[in-house]
């Protein structure tokens, strides 16, 4: 448990927590080993927990058509994902799959809600950090949307540089 508590130092949403708070949170986490290629959750699955990557690499994707997904992002050691599941009961918005052998720490919604009622100060600190992460991810999503639009425009032959034909003759 001590090791997990130490590890949480590097997890962004735990950075404002003191040693005691981290220990309390560590007690609520469930460790899970997953081999490469395994699906952690699929898009539209029930959503009821958050995962912290203790080791390995996770790929988050969204289904496009048939067997093809678009890769949204990757998570590495110290990152966390599935945080929407802590706050609402909507189905998962994307699929999470391990790209390499990984170890995850799971925080269930119920346990998180328990923290809210028992330790409101800890919960507030976690929430504040989570909001900053949400903002970062929203920005990344905006960048990704822009990139997808650029892709589409370029695919039609559109050039983002306004191209003026330099050809002409002005006799002086």
């Amino acid at each position: 448990m001590q090791l997990v508590s130490e590890f949480l130092r590097n997890v962004s949403f735990c950075q404002d927590l003191n040693e005691a708070a981290r220990s309390k949170l560590a007690e609520l986490l469930i460790s899970k080993k997953i081999s490469a290629g395994a699906v952690i959750f699929r898009e539209f699955d029930d959503s009821d927990c958050l995962y912290i990557v203790k080791s390995g690499r996770i790929i988050i994707s969204k289904h496009v058509q048939d067997q093809v997904d678009i890769v949204l992002t990757r998570f590495h050691t110290g990152d966390f994902f599935g945080e929407m599941g802590l706050f609402d009961t909507s189905p998962r918005s994307a699929t999470a799959q391990t790209e390499t052998d990984s170890v995850l720490l799971r925080l269930d919604r119920k346990a998180f809600q328990q923290v809210f009622s028992d330790e409101p100060e800890i919960a507030a600190r976690i929430c504040y950090r989570l909001v900053t992460v949400f903002i970062e991810r929203l920005r990344a999503t905006n960048d990704q949307a822009r990139e997808a639009i650029r892709w589409g425009l370029e695919a039609t032959g559109f050039s983002p540089e306004p191209q003026r034909s330099p050809f002409g003759r002005r006799s002086t």
Partner: protein, 406 residues
């Protein structure tokens, strides 16, 4: 141009959990795209004479927008396939068979160029592209470039230039292009040359008269040169009309963003022959030659004194102006340069030569691989540089002499 946008896809295999990650950039999406050019009634194309390296270029004109684009042989080949029936994959294959190599970037650049000139059927995209031109970028380099472009684009234009020129041409302008006018001008020039040689012996007395009234002389010279310059561009425009082509603009602008000057946009002459282009180029400087000749002949008719010196000085200044205009190697696109570009069939000689500069060390190290056109560009650069250096040296000496004199 920025790197192509990339999408990262996760492709699931049939096995549980198995997948592969594939990156595709936007160039891949071209394969199924079928570009469609405007209907044939909305454009015209004119092949240009073969250039020094044996290649031929083509000038494509959008009749809807009155815009022009220069295509090389490869681009023209692609243009012929942009009929809305051939996918880019098919076009790429045909290009490979014809030219032995193919790069999708070539198509991307050409599509950008054609969209820019409105030659492809895609109005909405074109509108977007034009609007983007007004976007403001915070990077200072982009802002600087933008401001420089705006500065270079500053101009005063005569409204309905083509209609004005047509009227002038019909109401007597055509006489300027009659063979009789040409022979009369040639005779005047020969007479003036003989007289100028004779007047040369009186140079010191002319200089004495001219120095006595510097403000008057400067004013008269300036007014004459400005008037001649206006007539010069008008005659360019009339020569263009004489060949049945359109005058796009007539006005005043900063040549290459530096030299304030009058201009006539005669791009439409590219839809005519090379001979027609050279005649249009020569027609302008002929104004200075003829006016200069008239001034020198008139100097003979007046009695010795300030009037004679002034007329002789004006004549010489006009001749010098014609010579400067006809000199091609000064980095400026004046008439001499245009004649050179026409004779070598390299209408973008200056731009290509300037674009060569950043690659010069690398190209000179492998000079054996230099194409004939690149040798010409190098020669153009070298002659321009030498001319500018000589011009500066001569004028520094003149400046010193002036300081010493004062």
């Amino acid at each position: 141009m920025a790197d192509p946008a990339k999408l990262e896809l996760l492709n699931r295999s049939g096995d549980a959990g198995g997948f592969e990650i594939v990156q595709i950039d936007s160039l891949h999406a071209y394969s199924a795209y079928k570009p469609r050019r405007l209907p044939e009634s909305d454009w015209e194309v004119t092949p240009q004479p073969k250039s020094a390296d044996g290649t031929r270029q083509f000038v494509l004109r959008n009749l809807r927008q009155d815009s022009y684009v220069l295509l090389n042989a490869g681009e023209y080949f692609l243009w012929n396939y942009f009929d809305g029936r051939h996918s880019l994959e098919e076009i790429g294959r045909a290009f490979y068979v014809a030219f032995g190599a193919f790069d999708y970037l070539l198509i991307r650049q050409l599509l950008g160029k054609l969209y820019g000139c409105g030659l492809l059927e895609s109005k909405r995209l074109l509108d977007f592209q034009l609007n983007r031109g007004a976007m403001r970028d915070s990077r200072w380099t982009t802002r600087l470039r933008w401001n420089w472009m705006k500065w270079c684009a500053l101009s005063l234009r005569v409204p309905h230039a083509d209609r004005v020129c047509s009227l002038i041409y019909q109401r007597g302008g055509f006489l300027l292009f009659h063979p009789f006018t040409f022979w009369l001008s040639a005779a005047a020039a020969v007479c003036a040359l003989a007289l100028a040689l004779r007047f040369g012996q009186n140079a010191s007395s002319f200089a004495y008269f001219l120095k006595a009234r510097p403000w008057l002389i400067s004013g008269v010279m300036l007014a004459t040169l400005i008037s001649a310059s206006i007539l010069h561009v008008l005659v360019h425009a009339l020569a263009c009309k004489a060949h049945g082509r359109r005058v796009r603009e007539l006005g005043f602008f900063l040549l290459q963003g530096i030299v304030p000057t009058f201009y006539a946009d005669v791009t439409d002459i590219f839809m005519s022959s090379r001979r027609a282009r050279v005649i249009v180029d020569l027609a302008g400087p002929m104004v200075e030659v003829v006016l200069g000749s008239i001034a020198i002949v008139a100097a003979q008719a007046v009695s010795a004194g300030l009037g004679q010196a002034l007329l002789f000085g004006v004549g010489l200044a006009l001749w010098e102006s014609a010579l400067l205009n006809l000199y091609p190697f000064n980095f400026l696109e004046m008439d001499g340069y245009n004649i050179l570009a026409d004779l070598t069939a390299m209408p973008m000689l200056r731009q290509q030569a300037l674009a060569l500069i950043p690659h010069l060390p690398e190209r000179l190290l492998n000079f054996k691989s230099l194409a004939r056109a690149e040798w010409l560009q190098l020669a153009y650069l070298a002659l321009c540089l030498t001319s500018v250096v000589i011009y500066v040296i001569v004028h520094i000496d003149a400046l010193r002499a002036l300081i010493h004199f004062s």
